[in-house]
Amino acid sequence: MPKTVLIVDDSISIRKMVGYTLKQAGFTVVEGENGQDALVQMEAQKVDLIVTDLNMPVMDGITFIREVRNRPAAKGIPVLMLTTESQDSKKQEGKAAGATGWIVKPFHPDKLLAIIARVLP
């Protein structure tokens, strides 16, 4: 049974490029254009991993992760930040919110898949 990855980013091109990379590796992909949209997607289907941007309208990535960690059913889901932001203060904020890892854009498809392989149970 293929694992399902939720990709959250307000940039459609990023969602498509990450989606393409993951589908080639055999994952099922669902998309959200911001944190709030992503929470709706999580109500509709089981998700095994989340890859989310930081800076998004409506609900940003940090707020989204906090919401995810507040839900008992989603507590154990690995959450990777995929963002242009590389400041330490932002990384610490993400870690405190409950992020599993931090990837700075642009991402290399092979390295993204390698880090996913490490965090997925």
Partner: protein
């Protein structure tokens, strides 16, 4: 008149406050324009660089696809005189030669058997002749016996004739001995011919059987190889077709990527206009700052803070604070918590 004396100064004061506010805003925003202009130009360069890389990637993809098809084509021997096609053709010729050898072998075998039968027949004929010679010898012996009897009737006058009769009898006995020896040799020859004939027949049958088995196996292998070759040619044709589809998709992508040229031109025009605006505003602003040195300082800090709060990349922050270098990301930009 008194009304206007009170209103006009008020209007002048209001206008002065508005102009002062405007000057403060302009002076506050103006210092940040060069950095914004620089970011626009840097964005243009980034986009152009990325598009160039993508096109190089497409070129590589198309080249690899062409090379794969060419290599497979050469291996299969779709080009004349090379590869698997040539090997198959050579194998078919060898099979035909093997078939000819099998047929020739059968032919020789038949000829050998025929010659053995001829030998057998000749041996039989010789034995018959020997039988005749025996009968003649017997006849001679009888004649010699009669001659001795007649010679005895003639007494001494028949003595010489008796000698002749004795000699004839002796020759007849000698003839009988010889024919007996020859017959024995002929019998042994017949036995040898029969044994050789049997062995030759068995050897010929085994050779033909072995060759037939080899031929059948080779024919099966050749058939399998031919089928595999046909499948590979089909796969190659499909690869060529997919290569064509890849080329079409790359062409469409190249068309789409040409957005970069339009975007680059627009961004360039905007950046150039910003530069012109800066130059236009510079002189009157310098004049105003000459009269009010702190003009716009507080507002500039507010604008700077607002920009800083918007930025999401170190490269943006570095454009506005050249003294503050961009922070280096973790190695490979990945960190697990």
């Amino acid at each position: 008149m008194r009304f206007w004396r009170s209103v006009i100064p008020c209007l002048f004061r209001r206008r002065s406050r508005s102009l002062a506010h405007l000057a403060e805003e302009v002076a506050g925003h103006w210092p940040h324009l060069p950095a914004l202009e620089a970011q626009i130009r840097e964005t243009m360069r980034d986009v152009e660089g990325s598009v160039v890389e993508v096109c190089a990637g497409f070129n590589g993809m198309a080249t690899r696809a062409r090379e794969s098809v060419a290599a497979a084509s050469q291996l299969l021997g779709s080009d004349q005189g090379s590869g698997i096609e040539t090997l198959l053709e050579a194998s078919r010729r060898s099979m035909a030669q093997l078939r000819q050898q099998i047929d020739r072998g059968q032919e020789i075998s038949s000829q050998l058997m025929q010659r053995m039968r001829t030998l057998e027949s000749l041996a039989g004929t010789i034995l018959k002749a020997l039988g005749e010679i025996d009968r003649i010898a017997l006849g001679s012996k009888l004649v010699a016996l009669n001659a001795k009897v007649e010679a005895a009737h003639f007494g001494e006058q028949g003595a010489a004739f008796e000698v002749v009769a004795d000699e004839i009898a002796s020759q007849s006995r000698r003839s009988e001995e010889i024919t007996e020896n020859v017959a024995g040799e002929i019998q042994r020859l017949r036995a040898t011919v029969a044994a050789t004939s049997t062995e030759l027949e068995e050897m010929a049958r085994m050779s033909v059987e072995t060759l037939e088995v080899s031929h059948t196996e080779l024919e099966g292998a050749l058939g399998e190889l031919t089928r595999t070759h046909t499948q590979m040619e089909t796969a190659l044709a499909e690869s060529v077709q997919r290569g064509g589809q890849l080329a079409d998709e790359i062409a469409r992508s190249i068309m789409a990527l040409q957005f970069q040229d339009r975007v680059g031109q627009r961004l360039g025009h905007v950046a150039d206009e910003l530069a012109s605006m800066r130059k236009t505003i510079h002189m009157p602003l310098e004049y105003l700052k000459g009269e009010t040195p702190v003009l716009g300082e507080a507002r500039s800090k507010e604008v700077g803070a607002r920009l800083e709060s918007r930025y999401t990349m170190d490269s943006e922050r570095a454009a506005h604070s050249p003294k503050k270098p961009a922070q280096e990301s973790e190695i490979e930009g990945v960190e697990l918590f």
